[in-house]
C-alpha cells in the first residue's frame, strides 16, 4: 500500500471518511491560497472537526514524518498555505464556532476557523467589536490572522493582530497541547504569544484563540483630500501626526489607483489628482467633531486642491468603497495583477514612488499604489498578463526589486501579508545569516523534525547567500 493510501486509511478510522480527501478533483480548491500563481497538489487533505482529531492527525504525521500544512480560509497572499506535494493539508475550516463572548470582560473565545468579521458581528449587540480588519475580513479566518499577524486599515491606532489577541491554544508538532498567553494581560516567561503571532503555521496548529473586544466608536467620519503631487500628500500625513492626532485610518492612493477605483465605483474621487488621502477620525462625537475640522485645515494648508468631509454614514461608506475595492478595480484594467506588501518610513514615500516609476518603465509593466499611509505599509500592484510567456517571471523580479528598495530605505519586505513561499528569497535581504540561524533555532525548539509547513517563512541558509549574490548582480546591471 502506498503511503498515501496507508495514511488515508488511518485517518478514516477517526475522521468522517468524506473529509479525508484523496482524489485530485476534490483537492483542487486546496492547491493554492489567495496567491494563485503558486500551486501544488497535496498528498491528502483532511478536515477534522474535533481538537482530538487534530491532535491525532498531527501525531500520525509526526510518526510517519509527513509534512503538515495548516489552512484557514485560504485567503492569504504569500502562499503560506500552499500545499506540500508529499504532505497533508490540515484544514481548520470546521472549527467555526464562537465559543463564548464575555461582554463585561470584553473578550471572545473563538475557534480558529471563525471568520474575522463574524466576531465583530457577534459582538455588535454588546456595543463591541474586534479591531483588526484585513481587507479579506469577510472570508479570512481568525486562525489565519494570528498565523500571519494580519493588519488592516486601522493599525496605527488599534494595532495588529498581536496587539489584540490574549491567548492562543495550539498543538505542537509532537501533538502536545500548549497554551500561550493567558487569562490576564501578561504571563510570566518568554512572550510565546508574540512569537506565535505571525509564525505562519511553522510552530504549531492553533486550536483556540481569545481576542480582545473594543467598544464600537460612537462616531466615525472621513475626510477626503486630493493633491497635485505625492510629496504634499505625504507631508500632510506627517503634519496630522505631528499635530498630535492619531486617525483611525489614514490611506493614500496614487493616480493609477485613483483612476481605477473611481471608474469602478464612482466614489467622487477627482481623477486628475496625483495623490488622494482618506483620513478617518473615530471616537466620541465631540472628539470627532473637534479633530475633523483640524485635519481638514491641515490638508488645506498642505495644498490639497479638493477636500470633502463625509456628512453621512452613506457618504463615509462610499468614500471608503473606492479604497476598499481598489484591488478588484485594478483587476479590471489588467488581466492579472501582483500585490506587493513592503513597508517604508513614511518620509521615504515620494522617493520610493519615483524609483518605482523608473523600474516600471524599465520592465515595461504598469504599477498602481495603495498605501496605508498611517503605518507606512505600501501595496504596489504590478499589472501583468500571465498568458504572455515570461511576463510573470519579469513581474516577480520587479516585485523583488521593490522589496529590496523598501529594505534599503529602512523598511521591510512584508507588513502584513507574511513571507510564505513568495518572499522567502527576500528574507536574505532583510536578515543576515546569524539572524536566520536564530530563526531556525526557534523553529527547532518547537518542531525539531521540521514537519509543520516546511519550505515557508524561513529560508535555508545556503540559498540566502546565493540570492544575495544574484540580487547584487541585478542591481549592478540596472
Amino acid at each position: 500500500m502506498s503511503e498515501k493510501a496507508q495514511l488515508a486509511t488511518l485517518f478514516r478510522e477517526f475522521i468522517d471518511p468524506e473529509f479525508v480527501i484523496v482524489d485530485e478533483e476534490t483537492q483542487r480548491p486546496y492547491e493554492c491560497d489567495g496567491l494563485s500563481m503558486y500551486c501544488e497538489q497535496p498528498m491528502l487533505v483532511v478536515l477534522p472537526d474535533t481538537i482530538d482529531q487534530v491532535r491525532r492527525v498531527i501525531k500520525l504525521c509526526h510518526q510517519h514524518n509527513v509534512p503538515v500544512v495548516p489552512r484557514g480560509a485560504g485567503t492569504g497572499l504569500c502562499a503560506g498555505a500552499m500545499p506540500h506535494a508529499e504532505g497533508v493539508v490540515l484544514s481548520m475550516a470546521k472549527f467555526n464556532r464562537i465559543i463564548d463572548i464575555d461582554p463585561l470582560a470584553r473578550v471572545a473565545r473563538v475557534q480558529p476557523g471563525v471568520r474575522n468579521i463574524a466576531i465583530s458581528e457577534a459582538a455588535f449587540r454588546y456595543g463591541l467589536y474586534y479591531a483588526p480588519d484585513p481587507s479579506s475580513q469577510i472570508a479570512c479566518t481568525i486562525g489565519g490572522n494570528v498565523s500571519e499577524n494580519s493588519g488592516g486599515v486601522h493599525c496605527l491606532k488599534y494595532g495588529l493582530t498581536v496587539h489584540n489577541v490574549l491567548k492562543v491554544e495550539m498543538i505542537t508538532a509532537e501533538g502536545e497541547c500548549l497554551t500561550l498567553g493567558g487569562g490576564g494581560l501578561d504571563t510570566a516567561g518568554f512572550d510565546l504569544l508574540a512569537l506565535a503571532n505571525g509564525s505562519e503555521g511553522l510552530l504549531g496548529v492553533i486550536t483556540e484563540i481569545t481576542v480582545k473586544l473594543l467598544p464600537v466608536p460612537e462616531k466615525a467620519q472621513v475626510v477626503m483630500a486630493a493633491f497635485n503631487d505625492v510629496q504634499s500628500a505625504g507631508n500632510a500625513v506627517s503634519a496630522v501626526v505631528s499635530n498630535g492626532i492619531i486617525p483611525g485610518g489614514l490611506e493614500m492612493m496614487d493616480r493609477h489607483a485613483i483612476v481605477a477605483a473611481e471608474d469602478f465605483c464612482h466614489a467622487g474621487y477627482p481623477k486628475e489628482a496625483q495623490a488622494l488621502l482618506l483620513c478617518e477620525l473615530d471616537g466620541s462625537a465631540e472628539e470627532v467633531k473637534e479633530y475633523i475640522q483640524r485635519v481638514a485645515a491641515i490638508f488645506e494648508s498642505h495644498n490639497a486642491f479638493q477636500i470633502r468631509i463625509s456628512q453621512s454614514e452613506a457618504e463615509r461608506m462610499l468614500l471608503w468603497k473606492g479604497r476598499k475595492s481598489a484591488f478588484p478595480a485594478v483587476g479590471r484594467i489588467s488581466p492579472d495583477y501582483y500585490c506587493m506588501d513592503g513597508t517604508i518610513p513614511r518620509g521615504q514615500l515620494a522617493h520610493v514612488l519615483t524609483e518605482m516609476e523608473k523600474m516600471s518603465q524599465e520592465y515595461g509593466l504598469r504599477v498602481a499604489n495603495v498605501f496605508h499611509a498611517g503605518d507606512g505599509n505600501l501595496h504596489p500592484l504590478i499589472l501583468f498578463d500571465a498568458n504572455v510567456p515570461g511576463e510573470f517571471e519579469k513581474t516577480e523580479e520587479f516585485g523583488g526589486r521593490i522589496l529590496q528598495l523598501c529594505v534599503e530605505v529602512g523598511g521591510c519586505i512584508t507588513g502584513e501579508h507574511g513571507v510564505g513561499v513568495e518572499k522567502i528569497k527576500q528574507m536574505a535581504i532583510q536578515f543576515g545569516d546569524a539572524e536566520i540561524a536564530q530563526f531556525h533555532g526557534i523553529k527547532d525548539a518547537f518542531d525539531s523534525q521540521g514537519m509543520l509547513n516546511p519550505g515557508k517563512g524561513i529560508p535555508v541558509l545556503k540559498y540566502c547567500q546565493e540570492y544575495r549574490a544574484l540580487s547584487q548582480t541585478q542591481t549592478a546591471q540596472a
Binding site: G184, L195, G283, S284, G410, I413, E435, Q438, I442
Partner: protein, 357 residues
C-alpha cells in the same frame, strides 16, 4: 552617547568561552525583581543614547542602556510620550531593563504595554552575536517576532542592545475622577462597564474604598466622560492632584506599598474577584491586583479560578524561592529549548526567571 556594543560582544564571548555566568545590570532599579541575580555583573547602562528619532514617523530608536528620564525629555520636546507609563522604581530605570521585565503602568489595559510598542530590537545572544530583528516601521511580519519575545524574558535570551519603539502624542487633556465605592465588586463592575463604553478611559484603580478613574484624549471627550460619572455617582468628584496619584501608583510610592512584607501581583481577567483583594489594590480596571502578606505561593495560585490568570511574588521574597507563576511542563520544555538556542552556555541571568532556566 557611546556605542559600546563591540565591548559587550567581547565580554559575552569571553564569558561564554570560559563558561562564566553574567548578570545583566542596567541602572539597578529593578534589582529586587525576579529571583536572586547571580554571575558577574555585565554593565549595560553605558550603552546609551538616542540612535534615531523621527517625531513625524512616531518612531524612536534608542540604545538599551538609555535612561527613562532621557527618553522622556527627548520625546517631550516634540509633545510625544511612551503611553505605557513605565514604572521608575527608586526614580530610575533603563529602556532595556523595562522591556526585559515588561512591567507596565496604570494605562496598560487601554494603551498597551512596552511590548506592544516594540517595533524592532538589536540583541546580543549568548554566542556574542549582535542580531537585528523587526525594524523601525509600524508593521513588519518578516521572520519570528524575536523583539517582542524579549518582553518579560528577564534578559535570559540576551542583552537588549537597541530598541525601536512606537511613540504617541501626549494627550491634550487628562482628568481624574474619584468615587467612594466601599464594595470592590461594585467597583469592578463599574470600571468594566465603563471600559466597554468609553474610548477615553486610561486608568482605573480601586484602593481603600475609593475608585480612581482617569480619562485622557481630546478635551471634549474627556470632559464629557468625566461629567457622566459625576452625574451618575453621588460622592464622585474631580481630583486635583490626579496625575501625582497615577505616578505614585506607577512607581509604587503609595502608602500601600510601604513595608517589607512580601508583595504579590495577580495578572488576571478584568472581572476576576480574587479572594483577599479588598485589602489590596485593584488596578488596570480589574486586570492587576496587589496583595501583601506572608502567603504560600500555591495558596495564592489556587485563588485564581479557571486559568483566569497568574500570580507572582513581586517584591520582598524571603529567600530563593520561585517568584513567577508555575509553568506547565509543555511550556517549560519549549522555554528550555529556546534558552538553549539563544544562549547555549547559559551565560545570561541564570535562574533569574525560574530556578530551572
Amino acid at each position: 552617547m557611546p556605542d559600546i556594543s563591540a565591548k559587550l560582544v567581547e565580554q559575552i564571548r569571553s564569558a561564554s568561552a570560559e563558561k562564566r555566568q553574567l548578570q545583566i545590570v542596567g541602572r539597578g532599579s529593578k534589582h529586587f525583581y525576579g529571583r536572586t541575580p547571580v554571575g558577574e555583573p555585565l554593565a549595560v547602562a553605558e550603552h546609551e543614547g538616542v540612535v534615531n528619532y523621527h517625531p513625524a514617523e512616531l518612531v524612536l530608536t534608542v540604545r538599551g542602556g538609555t535612561s527613562l528620564a532621557e527618553i522622556d525629555g527627548v520625546l517631550a520636546e516634540h509633545g510625544q510620550t511612551l503611553p505605557c507609563e513605565l514604572p521608575r522604581f527608586n526614580g530610575d530605570g533603563t529602556i532595556g531593563g523595562s522591556l526585559a521585565c515588561n512591567i507596565s503602568g496604570p494605562a496598560r489595559p487601554w494603551l498597551g504595554s512596552l511590548r506592544d510598542l516594540v517595533l524592532g530590537t538589536k540583541i546580543i545572544n549568548g554566542r556574542g552575536e549582535l542580531l537585528r530583528f523587526g525594524g523601525q516601521v509600524m508593521k513588519n511580519v518578516a521572520g519570528y517576532d524575536v523583539s517582542r519575545m524579549q518582553a518579560g524574558a528577564m534578559g535570559c535570551l540576551g542583552v537588549i542592545a537597541e530598541v525601536s519603539l512606537k511613540v504617541l502624542p501626549i494627550p491634550t487633556a487628562v482628568t481624574t475622577v474619584v468615587a467612594e465605592i466601599e464594595n470592590h465588586k461594585e467597583a469592578l463592575t463599574l470600571v468594566n462597564r465603563l471600559s466597554g463604553r468609553s474610548n477615553a478611559i486610561s486608568g482605573a484603580c480601586w484602593w481603600g474604598g475609593k475608585q480612581y478613574i482617569r480619562f485622557q484624549g481630546a478635551r471634549s471627550a474627556v470632559d464629557k466622560a468625566a461629567k457622566e460619572i459625576l452625574k451618575d455617582r453621588t460622592g464622585a468628584s474631580l481630583m486635583k492632584d490626579g496625575q501625582q496619584f497615577w505616578r505614585d501608583l506607577r512607581d509604587q510610592k503609595l502608602a500601600f506599598f510601604e513595608g517589607l512584607e512580601p508583595l504579590w501581583r495577580f495578572s488576571v481577567g478584568s472581572t476576576a474577584d480574587i479572594p483577599g483583594c479588598k485589602h489590596g489594590i485593584i488596578d488596570w480596571g480589574g486586570a492587576q491586583h496587589w496583595i501583601k502578606g506572608d502567603y504560600r505561593f500555591d495558596d495564592l495560585a489556587a485563588r485564581i479560578l479557571r486559568g483566569m490568570g497568574e500570580v507572582n511574588l513581586f517584591r520582598n521574597r524571603r529567600g530563593d524561592e520561585e517568584v513567577f507563576h508555575p509553568m506547565p511542563a509543555a511550556r517549560q520544555a519549549i522555554h528550555k529549548r529556546l534558552k538553549a538556542s539563544f544562549d547555549p552556555d547559559f551565560v545570561f541571568n541564570p535562574g533569574r526567571l525560574y530556578s530551572w532556566l
